[in-house]
Amino acid sequence: MPKLKSIEDLKKVREQAQRDLKVRTETGTRIIVGMGTCGIAAGARETMHAILEELDRQGIEANVTTVGCIGMCSKEPLVDIEQAGRPRITYCNVDPNMVPRLIEEHLRQGNVVYEWTMGRVPSEGIGQGS
């Protein structure tokens, strides 16, 4: 796809987005990155960038969102992966080098990478931080 850089080009983006919005909300995957002072200082912005790049590279569509500090600052960057019908998994100390394996194994193959996890919580649990 050619680079789109004017506001007018947004119309094309909108048309494309409208076609698949429904599909995505029904089968949605959410990736949640902690972005408080602690997360930012630990490199969360770079981790988020790596996630967006890897999703693009592998052609996987997933929602990526940021939240504030949830109080586990020493484990930042924290990345939660939430998929419909499955428990929400929290990964800790996620640096950009870990992202390709995380996306490949967790999202593509459906296997949790247990050696990097913090724990499992109900989907309405932590991460909606203050």
């Binding site: 680079k3 789109l4 850089k5 506001i7 080009d9 947004l10 119309k11 983006v13 909108r14 494309q16 987005a17 409208q18 919005l21 995505r24 959410r30 990155v33 972005m35 408080g36 002072t37 602690c38 930012i40 200082a41 969360a44 912005r45 770079e46 988020m48 960038h49 967006l52 999703l55 693009d56 569509e61 997933a62 929602n63 990526v64 969102t65 940021t66 939240v67 504030g68 500090c69 949830i70 109080g71 600052c73 931080g129 203050s130």
Partner: protein, 184 residues
């Protein structure tokens, strides 16, 4: 922090936490006057005078999740290290304005860094429900601007966090910033 854009992301997060519905971010690089100024203004809940005075104290925070608040103290230290300063103004119910100034040419001044990544991280907050953002970056006489209200008006009910939209935003910001850097 290694980049000023990381401090800026932190300031933007403060505005979100204050419940702002609109945030204005202005970066002004005055090369002749040798100053780099960052201003973040929000219409969030604001602070009482007493809270405002404590805001640059690293051992003060309004959070309940932890006991320290390092965002503003780190930025204040970075600004003072570069012959600059940090000024806070706030009024309850009106909002908060943070102004950080640096000597542009100071050896210890961190580079501005990746503004596109900072703005995207902010705009993806809570599934794209971040406040409206007006961003202006001025270098000498060149200006790059983004008003997310205009983008949202064009998009209708499609959120800014939609994969197609976030890709567009990132490219738009990277190109805008690159043009500024190319024409000082």
């Amino acid at each position: 922090m290694r980049e000023l854009s990381l401090h800026i992301l932190d300031l933007l997060e403060n505005a979100l936490e204050a419940g702002a519905s609109r945030v204005e971010l202005a970066i002004a690089e005055d090369l002749e006057g040798d100053e780099l100024a960052i201003v973040v203004r929000d219409n969030g809940r604001g602070m009482e005078q007493q809270t405002l005075q404590q805001a640059v104290d690293p051992f003060f925070t309004t959070r309940t999740t932890r006991h320290v608040g390092l965002g503003l103290p780190l930025l204040a230290a970075a600004a003072r290290r570069c012959d600059g300063d940090l000024v806070l103004e706030s009024a309850p119910g009106v909002g908060t304005e943070v102004r950080a100034a640096f000597r542009h040419s100071h050896l210890d001044r961190a580079p501005l860094g990746k503004m596109a990544d900072t703005l995207l991280a902010f705009l993806l907050y809570k599934d794209g429900s971040a406040p409206e953002l007006h961003y202006q970056h001025r270098v000498g006489v060149q200006v790059f601007e983004l008003d997310t209200a205009a983008v949202q008006a064009e998009l209708g009910d499609i959120p800014l966090s939609h994969p197609a939209v976030r890709g567009w935003l990132h490219d738009y910001l990277v190109e805008g910033e690159a043009e500024l850097a190319a024409r000082p």
